[in-house]
């Protein structure tokens, strides 16, 4: 799915937290939105996901100004698993059928949670919960996948699984994936394109390698230098 942002602004309590004049997320690519705290990454992603409305401006999805939630998968920053088994949590957003059972099993195996499928989701650790939430999201065949800090609680193995799975879903289903991260290493490993935000604006954007290894703007240089420390 192609996502085009046109002159969007988000204002909270008279303070502008996001201001993006124009940006386009192309179909079938993986995008990472990076930046420091309060840069506006999450707000931008929430507006793209349709769970928050821009104060001004429009977001177009394949040319349409309205989001079709059926075609979009979104994982909020705060993971919420329902008080039921891991299996039921993952199967919530997918139609029942033989193929879907296979997809669910595959997704659980991929995130390394197949042994936990009959366990209550509330008994899992933070990292395990995040893996289940990722499986629940990626099990659905969708044109646009949005993830807010998908690796915030995962360990190194979890990060690798996440990276491999995003690549696989993107390759097999040509889904556009946009994820927010504090971790430039994950961005450079998985994303085709990288968007750097600071003070609510897109300051620099380009291929992940260019953005992370050859920063041009002083804000991005500082961000990358701080990350390297």
């Amino acid at each position: 799915m192609k996502v085009k942002i046109e002159s969007i602004r988000k204002i909270y309590n008279e303070k502008e937290v996001v201001h993006v004049d124009h940006y386009q997320f192309s179909e079938g690519k993986i995008y990472a939105i990076i930046g420091g705290n309060g840069a506006g990454k999450t707000t931008l992603l929430r507006m793209i996901a349709g769970v928050e409305q821009p104060t001004k401006g429009t977001i177009y999805y394949n040319g349409q100004p309205h989001i079709d939630h059926e075609k979009v998968s979104y994982m909020p920053q705060q993971i919420y698993l329902f008080d039921t088994t891991v299996l039921k949590n993952v199967s919530l957003g997918i139609d029942k059928g033989k193929q879907s059972s296979q997809r669910i099993q595959e997704a659980l195996e991929y995130v390394g949670m197949n042994e936990f499928s009959n366990k209550n989701a509330l008994q899992l650790s933070g990292g395990e919960s995040q893996r289940v939430a990722i499986a629940r999201l990626l099990v659905r065949k969708r044109e646009l996948i949005l993830m807010d800090e998908p690796s915030s609680s995962t360990d190194i193995t979890g990060n690798k699984l996440l990276a491999d799975y995003m690549r696989r879903v993107n390759k097999l289903e040509r889904s556009t994936i946009i994820f927010v991260t504090h971790n430039p290493a994950l961005a450079s490993k998985v994303a085709d394109e990288c968007v750097f935000m600071a003070s609510g604006k897109i300051v620099e954007a380009g291929t992940s390698k260019d953005v992370i290894y050859s920063p041009k703007t002083p804000e991005l240089k500082t961000f990358i230098e701080n990350w390297r420390i």
């Binding site: 769970v51 909020p76 705060q78 957003g93």
Partner: protein
Amino acid sequence: MNQILTSLIEALKLITSLDREVYMIILLSLIVSISSTTIAALGAIPTGVFIGSKEFRGKKILVRLINTFMGIPPVVAGLVVYMILSRKGPLGFLDILFTPAAMIIAQVLIIFPIVTGLIISAVKSKVKIIWETGKGIGLGDGKILRLLFHECRYPIISAIIAGYGRAISEVGAITLVGGNIQFRTRVMTTAIVLETGKGNFDIALALGIILLSISFVINYIAHRIQENR
């Protein structure tokens, strides 16, 4: 101290003697409190879930009003019901003043805001993340509402039990609208007040023990429900 001990022994004798009046009082107490809790819960659950999960004009004022009524003095509620049901009142034609029906109405008036207020708080704390998670995996509004109800089931049960606790221990309103008539509208709390006034501490204490035992059983059940989650 001696008097308390003597009363306690007398109370236990009274409980085991199967005294008709005592058992009538217990039965009526249970009928009135269970009926009022059921009626209040039937109204409070949809009202609480609706107010807690939806945004609408005047919501803040409505919630404040409910919170204020959560602490309504029972005698005030009783007075209002008395005025409405009295011969000259708007519902005087029903001729139900000084009957268990009037007592149930008064208790509903007292516990409905309590149960509703507690459900609103429970729903409010979870609605945003459940709605976002549900939308993120493409669920419809109906399915999200069912999930919200499922996730809030324990606080809802607790709210109902809190309402029941208030109903069974209430005395002011039911004395006003019930009249504490022997074999007709006398319940445990009103009987305790009456017997204490008459100096019959053994009967009063016996009823107090029964009242405490019922509260203990209700709390035990509530605790078990919470533990089994």
